[in-house]
Structure formats: structure tokens, C-alpha cells
């Protein structure tokens, strides 16, 4: 029997109604298909208003989808069975002002139906893990934003969920804290937990996520590993070659006649020549042509596009059809 995916979203649509008599309709999600495998760290990327929060709310059952279906760990999204097995760290988390870390963990543990004994033992362990040991009896309202975020992470882990949905987990954390969270996520992956990460910090996603989905304007623009996404957006974002050349300007200009290129004059009669090369043979051909035209090749750099560039391209590129590379 096949194990159900951690998250399975099928043609999910969500419309919000607004205005006088709800006459204006806003399509927050327009038929999203997404599958997150068990045990992977999955990142969800998208600009503000892309529909990321709406998708998470649908997964948690906080809002209902207009059409389509979603399930978590084989149970319908929003069902009590599904919520029993997930840990959630919301964005802009706030705790009641009368809570200490211990009392907060006690309450959320009880809400997750964890026994008192486990709450007691796990609380100390988790507070140690997130770096709040020794400050567990202070009122949460005196905590910094980063400390509250750590406490939020602790509560999400308290009942040992199979799936963690983390909404901006490193928000408000210093670089050390972010690094710790990344290590924690990696550790969770090693424990076989599934992590669904929603973050604006692309480098972070690139560092910890096995796979990434890009959501824009309620549609999924791409899903895959960072490398797959780069490949997916190959046409727009192939390797870029930058060279320092010495020689006649006319000869240099003729190197890529008919192709996109940039030419920049450097001191001492040097020129910086930049162009795109989709394959290695294309670069080899370019080097051969430089030699043929007696141009001196002083330096050659080859760069690949970052996830940020892929993200920006995907968000802006309407031509890419979602789902085509979905694995």
C-alpha cells in the first residue's frame, strides 16, 4: 500500500468576495496542484498577495477552499485528525500577555491533547533546544520578537508532529538564530519529519529545502529542486559568460554578431565582454572564434542564476506553465 503524501493539493481554488453585497470577487488561488512528499523539507515561495497564506490556511482548515481538495497525511485538510498530527508556527505569532513560556507550552500541549507528563518533560527539552532555558518563567510579553518566535517553534514541536508548517520561522531572528533554526530543520529532516516552509528569505530556502514551489497570482509557477527550477527556467536564465578581452573593438564586436551581448571598456585597453551561453559547446565555439580573430582572452567567468533570479523570473514570466515540471 502506497503511503499518502504529507500534503496533497488538487486543483484548489479560493475566491474571496468583497465590496457592497460581496459583488467583487478576488481569486486568491486559481487551481493549485501540489504534492509534498513525506520526509522532505519543502519551501513555498511567492510575492506578497500570491496566495501562500491562503494555501496554508486551507491546509489548516482555517478557511475553506472554493473548489478542489487538500489533504494532510492522508486526512482531509482542516480535519481534527489532520490537525492532531501537524505542528504550526504562524507568522506574527502573539501569545496572551499573562503567559510564561512554561504556561504557554502547557496550554498548547493540552490543546494538542498531550499528557501532562509528556508536556512537562518535553517542555524543558524543547526550551533547551530553542535557547529559552532559564527564561521559561518570565512573562512572554517581556520577550523579544526572536524569543517569541523560538517559543512558537517549541510549541509547534511539543506534540512531536509528523508534519511541520512553518510560516516565516526565522522572522525576527539574528543570524545565529537563523543558523540554529536551519540546523533544527535539518535535524527534523533526519528524523523523518516533513517540513513545509513558507519564507521570504530565498537564500534560506535554497539552503535547507529539498524542493521549492513558486506561487504567484494564485497560480503555481514552478515546483522542484532549486536546480530543477533553474533548468525549468533555462530559456530565460541560462549560464552567463563574462570575459576580459584585449584587441580591436571591431573584431570583439563581431564575436557575437546577431546574439545578445554587452561590451564595456576597461582601463589599459581592455574590454569586458558579457554574453549568454546555454551549453558548454557554445562557450567552446566562442573561445575558438576569439582565437581565430587574434583577440587576447585575459579572463573568463561563468555564472549560474541564483534562486532569487529564478524566483524573480518565474514571478514575472507568465509564459511558463505551472505543473509542467511537477514531479
Amino acid at each position: 500500500m502506497l503511503e499518502s503524501p504529507a500534503i496533497d493539493v488538487q486543483q484548489v481554488r479560493k475566491s474571496y468576495h468583497d465590496g457592497w453585497l460581496n459583488r467583487h470577487s478576488i481569486e486568491a488561488l486559481q487551481g493549485v496542484d501540489l504534492t509534498v512528499r513525506r520526509g522532505e523539507v519543502f519551501g513555498l515561495l511567492g510575492p506578497n498577495g500570491a496566495g501562500k497564506t491562503t494555501l496554508i490556511k486551507i491546509l489548516l482548515g482555517i478557511v475553506r477552499c472554493t473548489a478542489g481538495s487538500a489533504s494532510l497525511l492522508g486526512a482531509p485538510a482542516g480535519s481534527r485528525a489532520a490537525r492532531q498530527r501537524i505542528g504550526y508556527l504562524p507568522e506574527n505569532l502573539s501569545f496572551p500577555s499573562h503567559h510564561t513560556a512554561v504556561r504557554a507550552l502547557q496550554l498548547y500541549g493540552r490543546l494538542s491533547r498531550v499528557s501532562e507528563r509528556v508536556i512537562h518533560s518535553r517542555s524543558l527539552e524543547l526550551l533547551e533546544l530553542v535557547g529559552l532555558a532559564g527564561r521559561q518563567h518570565e512573562l512572554v510579553r517581556k520577550y523579544s520578537k526572536g524569543m517569541r518566535q523560538r517559543l512558537g517553534l517549541a510549541q509547534a514541536l511539543l506534540h512531536e508532529p509528523e508534519l511541520l508548517i512553518l510560516d516565516e520561522p526565522t522572522d525576527g531572528l539574528d543570524p545565529v538564530g537563523r543558523s540554529e533554526i536551519r540546523r533544527l530543520i535539518s535535524a527534523l529532516r533526519e528524523q523523518g519529519k516533513t517540513v513545509f516552509l513558507n519564507s521570504h528569505i530565498l537564500q534560506e530556502v535554497e539552503l535547507v529545502c529539498d524542493r521549492v514551489a513558486i506561487l504567484a497570482d494564485g497560480t503555481l509557477r514552478g515546483v522542484g529542486t532549486p536546480r530543477e527550477l533553474t533548468t525549468q527556467f533555462h530559456g530565460a536564465l541560462s549560464s552567463r559568460v563574462r570575459m576580459e578581452l584585449g584587441g580591436e573593438l571591431a573584431a570583439i564586436e563581431s564575436l557575437r554578431a546577431g546574439h545578445e551581448h554587452e561590451l564595456l571598456k576597461l582601463p589599459e585597453g581592455k574590454w569586458q565582454f558579457s554574453t549568454t551561453a546555454e551549453t558548454q559547446s557554445e562557450i567552446d565555439q566562442l573561445v575558438d572564434r576569439i582565437r581565430q580573430k587574434n583577440i587576447s582572452l585575459l579572463k573568463l567567468d561563468r555564472t549560474r542564476p541564483s534562486l532569487e533570479e529564478v524566483f524573480l523570473s518565474a514571478v514575472e514570466d507568465k509564459r511558463v506553465q505551472p505543473g509542467s515540471t511537477n514531479s
Partner: protein, 793 residues
């Protein structure tokens, strides 16, 4: 642990962590600490205070006369013991009083002077106080005085009793104990002019209920609403809510748990205050009233009503200020509706209630709670006013007393102040002459022909009929002052007054009428205008709140006054004491009496029914179910049983022989306001609001139903205001539940102090407010739950 229980516990900690709670508890603690030193201060004392002087002017006059050796020997004896300078002032005061100038002697000064007399050993002489030895209580004191063996306290007691004999109308009866409200043992002001029982009667329904209704029911609930209003909006704001909703719990139960969690705040406050009040009232005033603790859930219910509105508004608008404003608007709406209902309700439901039914020469006559004497008008089906006697407030009407020999009806109305005192513009009896022809001879010469006439021609419309009296009543003689009761003793009328028992001399009625108009242009002396003669035994004076009734045979009176019960026989000219008895209690209780050849039945406010034998010796006591208060008693014809009507509108048959109470089968039970036995199987019943039903006990059928047409105000109230009021929430109506919890009475007197058991009492409607408010809360919470379940956050 159950997650919802966890939310409740968390709400408790939230309340504990709230500074406002601690500030409020501190405030309440200061209030309770401030209240705790209040209490009674009692002293055994016969000394007089200014409140004991009932009639200052008359007392000054009598003492002044006594100082001139005028008047009774007892007064002369007292006057001789006063300071000479004071005597001089008394004389001056009396002279200046005659010339209408200001009287400079105050009640306090009078009391002070009379208190000097209390320590004298020379006041008592057999000549001055010839009847004193007849009093069982005074005899040993007088014997000791004669042997010069009285100590200071005994001398004070004896002299106070002698002073009372000398000035029975001018001084209040001695209680032997002075009662003050004290603070930390220090007396505040003068001694209270009331007994502990009366003070307790005031403390429970007025003082405690006032503190609870206004201090907690309004002020504390409003503060609680302000403090708890952010709880629901805060919980259902996105930052905290998304995390809560991600947990495996129901949204609806989450909402309900937070809602009831918010109530913990109020529960802590209310419990603290009421437990504090319970102990203060118990320890300081000896009022151990568990009803105070029963008010905790009632007050919580009041809060829940408002909080349900606040929580719903908080869910929808998510703003605490809007919650508070919405609650205030809701309170204003409920308050306005309640005021409208409470203002009109008694006018429509209580005041028209029939308290007495009489059938006189074919006229069906009734007295309602306003004291209006009504005559049934068959043509328009209304109670037409018998005479022109406007009474808008609750009143006590004596009569109608019918004299068949002279074919006249006597009546007189007084209105009551909140403390039960009777007042009227004058004390003249109203006399209706039921003449065959309506000729009224205005000439003074032909007295025998003087008759009342019909007020006007037959009214043409129902409106006219409602406003036009049937008869023009003649002004009769003045009733004696300080009247307690008017009793019909066969064909004789007895006015029961503080100064004695006065018989109306019908033969002098016409003379009085002439005297009032003047004869041949001359005014007759005032003494000739009185038609009442005191036929009481010598030195027979009555104390406060006296009640009397004629014996069933019409041959005597039974009188209850200051705890003493006297049976007086009437020999055709005078009344004489046959038997006397003393009842427990302080003697200030409102009382109803009934006596036949074998038994005397006494119903007193807050006491069980007492059955005594003909010698006024106690036989047995019976308690009516559910602490029902007696409203009327009437002997059942051809039977030794007594019909007892309660303020809850139920009829009981009291078997005096077997000392048993059994329900008396009658129609419209629970709505009966008065009764009149026509014979052993025919009964007239006054039924709420103002119907009279003639019921045949043998056939168990209603023979006649006199149900008057409703006025416009009554229709508006019955078909518009009342239904709207019933279906709407009414938190303030839960006050009745609190009053019930505090007093245990299902009916409440409309006066501050109950002095007349026959006066209509408001029936405490416990369940309508509880049911309608519960429905309201359920509907509001149900809508809130539906909203929470559907809302996408």
C-alpha cells in the same frame, strides 16, 4: 486534560494576572472593611428620645395644663416633677401656641425633661394612677415602690409605664430597649424608631438588595464588561487565533470555553463581595441570610446576558470599545422597556385588583387597590365610580358599611405613604343615602328628608360612565384621629383608634350634617359635630399598627395591638374585655384576625397562622405552603372552618378543630384577590385584574362573571407592551429572583414596610425572566457559535 478545560483554567490564570481584577478586589475589600464596623448598639433603657414624642403640641398643652392643676391627676403628677423654669416655658409655649406663634420647645427638650421624671420615686400615687395596679406587669414594681425597694432600673421602668398611662396618645409605647446603628461600637444619631424585626425587614429586601442590585448588578457588571470586553476580540485576532485553530479542537467549543472563561473574572469578584457581605450582615446585624450566596449565580446570569452581547459584537467587529458601547445600548434598551413595563404594569395589573366585594340593595360594589369604590354598570360592563373620590395611589378604604335601617352606606378612603401611614385631606366619613327618590332637601329644617341623589342622569357613553360617579356622597362626621380600623359590628360601626374604640351614633349623623352647614346662620360647637363616642374600657389605649375584627356573631371585637390580643364583648352600649392574651414577636407585624365562638385565628406577616381558643390560649400553629402570605380570611357559612386567601391567589380551607389546611376548590385559583361568602355554597370571588366571579360550590360552576371592558391603556399594555416585554431579554427583572433569594417571599409588599396584609402585593415572577433571559442567551450564543464556525479568519 480536556483541552476546553485547559482554556477555562487558562482564563482563570488570565483573570488572576489581570491588574484590574486585583484593583477591584482591593476596592471591594476597602468597601467591606468600611462596612464591617457598622452594627447594632443596644441598651436596656426606658429613657425617652425625641422620636418617642408622637404629638409634641398636645404634650406641651397637657403638661402646661397639668402644671396649673388642670386635667387628669396623672398629668398633674408628672407636671409637678418638672423643672420650674421648664414649666414656665411650657405655659408660655401654650399661650403663644394659642396665638399661632412659634413653639420654642423641641421634642428633644421634652424628652429630656420627662427623662428626669423617670428617676423620681414620687411619681406613683394610687390617686394619680388608679388603674396601674391592675396591670400584671406593674403590680410587683408598684409593691416594691411602696416598700421603697426599687432599684434605679426598676424605678425607670415603672415611671416610664406611668408616663405612658398619663400620655397614651402623645408618647410611643415603651420598648425597654434602645437600638442604634453603631459604627465600631459608637452610636450614630438617635435610637431607631423601629424594632429589630422591622429593621431586618428593611435590611434584607431594601438595603442588601439595593447593594446587590446597584453595587453589583449594575456597577460591578459594567466594570466587568469593560474589563472582559477585549478577551474575545483578542482571542479571535489573527496572531493568536491561527495557532489555536491549528490545534485539534472545535472552534465552537473554543469560543464557548473562552466565553465562560471570561465569566471567571466576574465570579471571583462577585463571590468575594457577597461572602464578605454575608459575614458582615451575619456578624454585625445577626442577619445570616444564605440568600446572599444564592445571589452569586443570579448575578453571574445577569453578567452572562450582557457578556453574550459583548462577545458577539467582539466576534463580528473585533473591537473592545464597540463591545462596551453595544452593551450600553443593549442595557439602555432593556432599561427603557423595563421602566415602561414597571410604570404601567402596576397601574393595569395591581391597582385595579379588587380587595373587597359587597352586594348592597342589588348593587354589586367593589373596592380596588386605589381605594376606589366601584359599582357594576351592567349597561357598559364597567366598574362605575360610586362616589367622586379620586385616589391615584394605593389606598385603604374602610367600608362600604351598609346600614339597612337607615339605608345608607358609609365609606372613607386614605392613601398610604411608603411606610404604611394613612393620610387623607380630611377625616370625614362619606355617606351615601340610598333613597328611593333622589330629592335632596337643601333646607336645614327638614332633616329627615335629607337624601343623597344620583350624581347625574344616566351616562350616555362608556367614557362618561367611567368618569361619572353613581352617587353624590354627603360629608359625614369626622372619624376620630389616629385611626387604625373601622369595623362593622352588626348595625353598629366601631372606629378603632389609638385613643380607644369609638362607636358611631347614627342618630347624630343628621345633626352633624346640619352643624357643618350651620343652623340659622350660626356655626355649631365643634364638640357637637362629633358622632363618635368612646365605648372602650377605661384607660384602653392602643399602640402602633393595631388591627381589629368583629367576632363572627357580631357580639364583640377582637383587637391586636402591640403584641396583645384582646377579646372585647359588646353589650349594646359599651365594650368590655373578656379575655386577653400575649403573642410572641415585637407586636409590630401586619395582622389579620378572625374569631368565632370557639376559635380565634391570627395571621401575621412572616409568622405561621395561629389558632387560639376562645380564651385566647394558643392551640396550634400552621404554616402555609411556600411561605404564602395571608390576604383575607372569612368564615365559611354554616361551618366552623375558615376560608383563607393568600397573596398568591390561592384559597385554603382551615379546619380550626382539626388544625388542618386543605385547598379549597375554586375556579381561577392563583388569580383570586378577594372573596365574599353569599351562603355556604355560593362564593363571590375577585379575580385578577378586576373581575368578579360568582361561583356555585355545589355545582362547581361559574354562575356569573362580571368582567369589565378594558381601557385603552389596559389594551395597549396587554397586547403590546407586555408581550414585547415578555419576549425580550430583561436582566433587571432578575432583581425579583434576588429579592426572592433574600427574603424567601413569593409576593412583595408595595410599601417599604408591610403594615397591611390586605394590601395587594406584587407576585414575584421568578421563572419568566429566567426563561426569557435564558432563551436570549442561548440564541445569542447560538448565533455566535454559528458565526465562529462559518467565519474564515
Amino acid at each position: 486534560m480536556n483541552p476546553y478545560l485547559a482554556i477555562l483554567i487558562d482564563s482563570f490564570w488570565e483573570a488572576v494576572g489581570n491588574r484590574v481584577l486585583w484593583a477591584l478586589l482591593l476596592g471591594w475589600s476597602l468597601v467591606l472593611i468600611g462596612l464591617a464596623p457598622f452594627g447594632y448598639v443596644t441598651e436596656r433603657s426606658y429613657r425617652l428620645t425625641s422620636s418617642d414624642i408622637d404629638n409634641r403640641g398636645q404634650l406641651i398643652s397637657r403638661l402646661a395644663k397639668g402644671s396649673r392643676d388642670q386635667g387628669r391627676l396623672a398629668i398633674v403628677a408628672v407636671a409637678k416633677l418638672l423643672d420650674e423654669s421648664f414649666v414656665e416655658r411650657l405655659r408660655q409655649a401654650e399661650d403663644s401656641d394659642k396665638s399661632q406663634s412659634r413653639n420654642p420647645i423641641t421634642s428633644s427638650e421634652l424628652a429630656e425633661q420627662l427623662n428626669q421624671v423617670l428617676s423620681s420615686e414620687e411619681l406613683y400615687t394610687p390617686e394619680a394612677f388608679p388603674t396601674a395596679k391592675a396591670r400584671d406587669r406593674l403590680l410587683p414594681l408598684i409593691e416594691s415602690a411602696e416598700r421603697r425597694k426599687l432599684d434605679e432600673n426598676e424605678a425607670e421602668e415603672l415611671n416610664r409605664e406611668l408616663l405612658q398611662q398619663a400620655f397614651p396618645l402623645e408618647l410611643s409605647s415603651p420598648r425597654g430597649e434602645h437600638l442604634w446603628i453603631g459604627y465600631a461600637g459608637f452610636k450614630i444619631g438617635d435610637p431607631l424608631p423601629a424594632s429589630r424585626r422591622q429593621i431586618r425587614q428593611f435590611i434584607e429586601p431594601v438595603l442588601l438588595a439595593g447593594i446587590i442590585k446597584f453595587g453589583l448588578g449594575i456597577l460591578a457588571v459594567f466594570v466587568a464588561i469593560v474589563v472582559t470586553s477585549p478577551m474575545i476580540p483578542d482571542t479571535f485576532s489573527s496572531g493568536a487565533l491561527h495557532l489555536l485553530l491549528s490545534k485539534p479542537i472545535s472552534r465552537v467549543w473554543l469560543y464557548l470555553a473562552k466565553f465562560f472563561g471570561g465569566c471567571i473574572f466576574v465570579l471571583v469578584n462577585i463571590t468575594f463581595v457577597l461572602i464578605g457581605l454575608y459575614f458582615i450582615a451575619g456578624l454585625r446585624f445577626d442577619v445570616w441570610n444564605l440568600g446572599l450566596l444564592a445571589c452569586i449565580p443570579i448575578l453571574m446570569f445577569v453578567f452572562v446576558i450582557f457578556y453574550s452581547v459583548s462577545a458577539l459584537v467582539g466576534l463580528i467587529w473585533g473591537n473592545a470599545i464597540v463591545c462596551v458601547v453595544a452593551c450600553m445600548l443593549f442595557w439602555l434598551f432593556c432599561f427603557s422597556l423595563g421602566v415602561m413595563h414597571d410604570a404601567i404594569g402596576p397601574q393595569v395589573e395591581v391597582m385595579p385588583q379588587i380587595s373587597r366585594i359587597r352586594t348592597i340593595e342589588g348593587h354589586l360594589m367593589t373596592v380596588d387597590q386605589r381605594g376606589r369604590l366601584g359599582v357594576w354598570n351592567e349597561q357598559f360592563s364597567i366598574w362605575q365610580p360610586a362616589i367622586n373620590d379620586e385616589q391615584q395611589r394605593q389606598a385603604r378604604t374602610f367600608g362600604p358599611i351598609y346600614n339597612s335601617e337607615r339605608r345608607l352606606i358609609l365609606t372613607k378612603s386614605f392613601f398610604r405613604d411608603p411606610f404604611g401611614g394613612l393620610h387623607a385631606k380630611n377625616r370625614r366619613l362619606a355617606i351615601i343615602h340610598l333613597a328611593e327618590d333622589e330629592v335632596s332637601d337643601e333646607s336645614a329644617g327638614d332633616l329627615s328628608q335629607q337624601k343623597s341623589k344620583l350624581a347625574s342622569d344616566a351616562p350616555m357613553s362608556i367614557k362618561q360612565a367611567r368618569e361619572t360617579p353613581v352617587w353624590l356622597a354627603d360629608a359625614g362626621p369626622d372619624l376620630p384621629p389616629e385611626l387604625f380600623d373601622v369595623v362593622s359590628l352588626g348595625e353598629t360601626v366601631i372606629a378603632v383608634c389609638r385613643s380607644g374604640l369609638f362607636r358611631l351614633d347614627f342618630n347624630r349623623l343628621d345633626l352633624v350634617a346640619v352643624g357643618q352647614k350651620g343652623l340659622f346662620g350660626f356655626q355649631l360647637p365643634i364638640s357637637m359635630l362629633s358622632a363618635f363616642d368612646n365605648i372602650a374600657p377605661p384607660d384602653y389605649f392602643l399602640g402602633g399598627n393595631t388591627r381589629a375584627a368583629a367576632t363572627r356573631a357580631g357580639d364583640g371585637l377582637i383587637v391586636f395591638s402591640s403584641g396583645n390580643l384582646d377579646h372585647l364583648a359588646f353589650d349594646g352600649s359599651r365594650l368590655s374585655i373578656v379575655n386577653s392574651g400575649k403573642l410572641d414577636g415585637d407586636g409590630t407585624e401586619a395582622t389579620l384576625l378572625a374569631m368565632n365562638e370557639k376559635f380565634c385565628v391570627v395571621a401575621r406577616d412572616g409568622k405561621p397562622l395561629q389558632i387560639l381558643d376562645a380564651r385566647l390560649q394558643p392551640l396550634s400553629e400552621l404554616t402555609l405552603p411556600n411561605k404564602q402570605q395571608v390576604r383575607q380570611m372569612d368564615w365559611i357559612p354554616d361551618s366552623s372552618d375558615l376560608a383563607v386567601l393568600t397573596h398568591t391567589g390561592h384559597l385554603w380551607r382551615l379546619d380550626c378543630q382539626g388544625a388542618m389546611l386543605s385547598p379549597l376548590a375554586a375556579p381561577l385559583s392563583g388569580r383570586i384577590t378577594s372573596l365574599l361568602w353569599k351562603n355556604d355554597h355560593e362564593l363571590w370571588l375577585g379575580v385578577k385584574p378586576n373581575r368578579v366571579v360568582q361561583f356555585n360550590l355545589a355545582s362547581s360552576q361559574v354562575v356569573a362573571d362580571h368582567s369589565p371592558r378594558a381601557t385603552t391603556l389596559e389594551n395597549v399594555y396587554r397586547w403590546l407592551i407586555k408581550p414585547f416585554y415578555i419576549i425580550n431579554p430583561k436582566p433587571a427583572a432578575l432583581d425579583t429572583a434576588m429579592s426572592y433569594a433574600l427574603t424567601g417571599n413569593k409576593t412583595q409588599s408595595l410599601s417599604l414596610v408591610t403594615v397591611d396584609l390586605e394590601a395587594a402585593q406584587m407576585q414575584v415572577d421568578l421563572w419568566t425572566p429566567i426563561v426569557t433571559n435564558s432563551i436570549f442567551v442561548i440564541v445569542v450564543l447560538g448565533f455566535s457559535c454559528w458565526y465562529v464556525a462559518r467565519k474564515e479568519y
